[in-house]
């Protein structure tokens, strides 16, 4: 069933999938395994899409650094580049770098000789690099594209100094995903409250299903569950303040989050720390797991024919006073490096990324994302895309994701090990919170 047909397919499934958020192509076996074997830069350069002619720069060419390295995102990226060249009359050189490598090297990349325009994420992660002076202010571009976006998106693209540094292109909400056909067959109803969800999960267990597919080998997927519970129990503002280091992790409010999660853990898939999100998602695809708290990129794991069978519901309400109108929807987009060699071209390219056309090209090629641009034509959307778009549009507040809403060093060196140790041993919540708080203090005050 989920046993891979060929050895290479199997090997591919073993590649550390921290590149996960962009999905993962089982076909890039060799590249994937070699990358992990530690020759990243070399091969990543080979992965370049638009041709690495070497000389680069100058001559009216705009260089575009992209971390969209997996199959579907890469195809999408190429289509975008082609369309941008046509519409804006510029010549673009696309430099694709493996997703994880790109992220790990972002510091050196931006301080070295970065491409004129590069792909990145909205929120704190963008602000961090903007504040270090590693990105260019593009407020003037926002003057022309601003009308295409809602205020929430503008806010997510604005640095701490009030200037814009980012052009959002697509986003995908986090929610609880499941297979429609399985639920119809068993007669399940989407729960509205946490208690209903527990009842449903108990029923699923009786039916021989794993209620909540779960994986945290990469360290970040569990952050999604924490965020959802935190926003349902303590509200959006508390999430923002906690991530910004303004609230204490030893606060009873945080402990309640972990405590509630502890109550849900028996419904989670066991042995999650040895499993990648793709492996967990396979359970939903194969109908052995009932549901999964994950981003809409789970759609990449479904066959084309099954795309219509994916459905989701909002993470249920825990406290009626808080409600459930905060939604997590990380935004992807593009930034301009600090000293672009071809500034005019770079701005033209960013204008394209901020145009309704880009949204159409991107969402047609990769149906797991939704255009950030409100003017983008949505008539080609799949059922799922339509539902996602409505879902986010109706949300009162939109969060990014734990590792995008807080300092990257805190998220990776403190939160990943802490959440993993919670999953391993959910009983010492007090000790865990004290440890997180102590480390937070030393990182945030530095």
């Amino acid at each position: 069933m989920n046993r891979p047909a060929t050895e290479s397919e199997y090997l591919a499934s073993l590649v550390p999938a921290s590149a996960g958020r962009q999905g993962f192509s089982r076909r890039n076996v060799l590249r994937g395994s070699l990358l992990a074997a530690g020759i990243p830069a070399l091969l990543a350069a080979c992965g370049g899409g638009g041709g690495n002619s070497g000389s680069g720069g100058g001559g009216g060419q705009v260089t575009l650094g992209s971390n969209f390295s997996d199959e579907v995102p890469l195809k999408t990226m190429k289509a975008m580049v082609e369309d941008a060249q046509k519409k804006q009359g510029i010549s673009i050189k696309l430099n694709t770098v493996d997703h994880t490598t790109f992220q790990n090297n972002i510091n050196n990349y931006l301080q070295g000789s970065p491409d004129d325009v590069f792909s990145w994420f909205a929120g704190y992660r963008m602000q961090f690099f903007a504040a270090q002076g590693l990105a260019s202010d593009i407020s003037d571009i926002w003057g022309s594209i601003g009308a295409n976006y809602t205020d929430a998106f503008k806010k997510a693209s604005t640095g701490e100094d009030g200037k814009q540094y980012f052009v959002p292109t697509t986003y995908g909400p986090w929610a609880v995903f499941y297979r429609k056909s399985l639920w119809q067959e068993k007669g399940y109803q989407a729960p509205k409250t946490l208690d209903e969800m527990k009842t449903l999960a108990t029923q699923m267990q009786k039916d021989g299903l794993v209620p909540l597919a779960f994986a945290d080998k990469e360290g970040w997927p569990a952050m999604g569950t924490f965020d959802q519970l935190n926003m349902r129990i303590n509200g959006y503002q508390f999430h923002v303040d906690l991530m910004a280091g303004k609230e204490a992790w030893t606060d009873q409010k945080v402990k309640t989050v972990f405590d509630t999660w502890k109550g849900l853990l028996p419904f989670h898939q066991t042995d999650s720390l040895g499993r990648t999100w793709q492996e967990a998602a396979t359970g939903v695809v194969n109908k052995t797991s009932g549901m999964m708290v994950i981003g809409s990129f789970i759609g990449q794991q479904f066959e084309e024919a099954d795309q219509e069978d994916i459905d989701f519901f909002n993470f249920p309400e825990v406290d009626s006073a808080v409600g459930a109108d905060a939604v997590e929807a990380p935004i992807d987009g593009f930034m301009m490096s600090k000293r672009p060699r071809n500034e005019d071209g770079a701005k033209k390219l960013l204008e394209y990324f901020g145009s309704p056309d880009d949204g159409v090209v991107q969402t047609t090629n990769d149906p797991s994302g939704i255009a950030a641009n409100t003017k983008s034509d949505q008539s080609h959307y799949t059922e799922l895309q339509k539902k996602c778009a409505e879902f986010v549009a109706s949300a009162k507040s939109i969060s990014q994701f734990m590792d995008r809403d807080t300092r990257p060093d805190f998220a990776s060196t403190v939160m990943i090990p802490s959440l993993q140790s919670f999953i391993q041993n959910p009983n010492d919540i007090d000790g865990l919170c004290t440890q997180i708080e102590n480390q937070k203090k030393s990182i945030f005050t530095s």
Partner: protein
Amino acid sequence: MSSPDLPLVAPQTAHAAPSAGSHKGTGKKQRVRRLTGRDRVAVILMVAIPTLVVVGLIWLPAIASVLLSFTNWNGVGSLADVKVIGVENYTNVFTNYPPFKPAVEHNLLWLVVMFVVATPLGILFAVLIDKELKGSRFYQTALYLPVVLSLALVGFIWQLMYSRDQGLINAVLGTQIDFYGDPKWNIWAALFATCWKQVGYVMLLYLAGLKGVDASLKEAAQMDGANQVQTFFRIVFPVMRPINIIVLVITVIESLRAFDLVWVINQGRNGLELIATLVTANIVGEASRIGFGSALATIMLVISLVFISIYLWVVMREDER
């Protein structure tokens, strides 16, 4: 070793120094100058280039790491942005960084297992193969094969065995053990894979040593009535002292270097913490804690220095004899 046909003195010293001509330096003291100008340049280059390489690529980064460990820096901007914070990073490592303690324990465990399991096994295989049993070439190749592979690749290969849902071990035993995800298991799973590789390496070194042991020694021991085991432990093992020291050093180095395998498995988290992975996790990434990571690296340097000192002490004492 010396045979009667060979001169007892090196040729150039045996020659009488020319009193005049090109060797103008030879004067009253009758000193022989053996190096021409070109030779000197060659010698100077041969000393200078490696020195530069060693200083530039090893000493400078090492010293820089030590210096950076007293600072707070996120890797962005010039060195002017570096803030000196004294020993705060070290205090944090020891008091406020939960993964540090398990990392030290795991490094020690690694060392112990290498010493107690991998090395003796390697010696045993070497001795067996040295007996030139039937098909020993086949065994030699089979045992040495894993050594050729990088540890990162070893990680992938063993995942085929260990994978919870698709692995061979679980399929054969009918179990559902999460070898890489469960911290009760993963360190042992990783150690097993490492030993699998290390055994071949030790075996090869020992085999080379065993081939060098004078056969007459063993013969003499057997004449005196020693059995195989006695011959090995009383005669062969002590004679191979230089090899023993090399194996010892290599074992220590490999244990401290342990990194690739666990990084491939889960980036050294959740039961697989090692000092080396903590260094990497803190330094490589979007926003690096360069100072904190350097402090960890410095601690690792100090630990290695202990072993290096012991080694040098042993080697130098050897030379004095």
